[in-house]
Point group: none
DNA sequence: GATGTCGTCATCCTTTCGGGTGATTTTGCG
DNA sequence: CGCAAAATCACCCGAAAGGATGACGACATC
């Protein structure tokens, strides 16, 4: 969490410096202060939203839930079932919550980049999780990982 | 979510107006632009963080209520549903039998090369079928194609 | 015979994935 | 606090996948 403050300070400082530097170029224009205000407002609002999302991201510990899944669907409504994940399999395979999260996003057809954006992490991190999850699942490709995950009941 | 945008606009507008109004009081001071920048930055960063919190909190609460539920269902066999393919969708999308065949193999986690071996055709042919099928499904990746195919009921 | 669809195969090029390795930071827990 | 697990990030490299385009033959249909 220390890094967030650092980033905040850096961005702020850079922006202030930029303002100070560019002041002599645009201050002769009309309404430059308002433009500055709007610019800074937009930038920092975006940054704040990002930061807010980032620091409040769900960090819940795994709960102990013993669950068996219910199938028996007439193949017409593919959704709507709550999907009780098979935590048993997940645990025995050593798949972490984060890895499962990424597996689920893979199953939904997202690319690594999209997953990275969705989870506010770098693409490299996603790839690392992927590699670990694939290894634990014995899969060589993401499609295979999805297939295995569904077989084992750890994916909807 | 619409209300957030409204609040955002209101706060922004008010701040801009305030800036414009107070310009004539502080513009004579030194570094007024930097002060404006810092002020606006802090305010909007705080606002952004608040917005981020607000947005994510609701999701978390929903998640909370859903999570700790203990389901118990007779451990039945997966029911062996024969999967009646939705030929309707397939036809309207213009997906040929061969393309569907390759889609099914993709869903099973095979690579293009493995599919080519399985079907006794060249890898290029498989890729062509893939491209066509992906285009008809509106998918950019094979995982997405599988997801779409299952949604539409043309894949088990 | 002209037309259209389907399956087949190719080439070129770009992007994405996956494997491997190493590193730092965060977090949970005793 | 200190340790271990988990999460994060980076870099490299080769393989796989994907896009675009063109081509050819079989087959059906009008």
């Amino acid at each position: 969490m220390k890094r967030h403050a650092l980033i905040f300070g850096l961005v702020g400082g850079t922006l202030i410096a930029t303002l100070q530097y560019t002041e002599y170029r645009f201050v002769v224009l009309e309404h430059s202060v308002e433009l500055y205000g709007a610019l800074v407002a937009v930038l920092f609002a975006a940054f704040g939203i990002w930061l807010g999302l980032r620091i409040t991201r769900r960090r819940e510990t795994i709960r102990e839930t013993v669950v068996l899944k219910e199938v028996l669907v007439p193949a017409e409504t593919p959704a709507l079932e709550p999907f009780a994940p098979n935590t048993e399999q997940q645990r025995t395979l050593g798949i972490t919550a984060r890895e499962l999260e990424i597996l689920a996003l893979i199953a939904r057809g997202l690319s690594n980049r999209e997953i990275a954006t969705e989870l506010f992490v770098s693409e490299n991190t996603v790839k690392t999780h992927c590699a670990r999850a694939f290894d634990k699942l014995g899969a060589a490709r993401r499609t295979q990982a999805v297939q295995r995950g569904k077989e084992l009941g750890i994916l909807p």
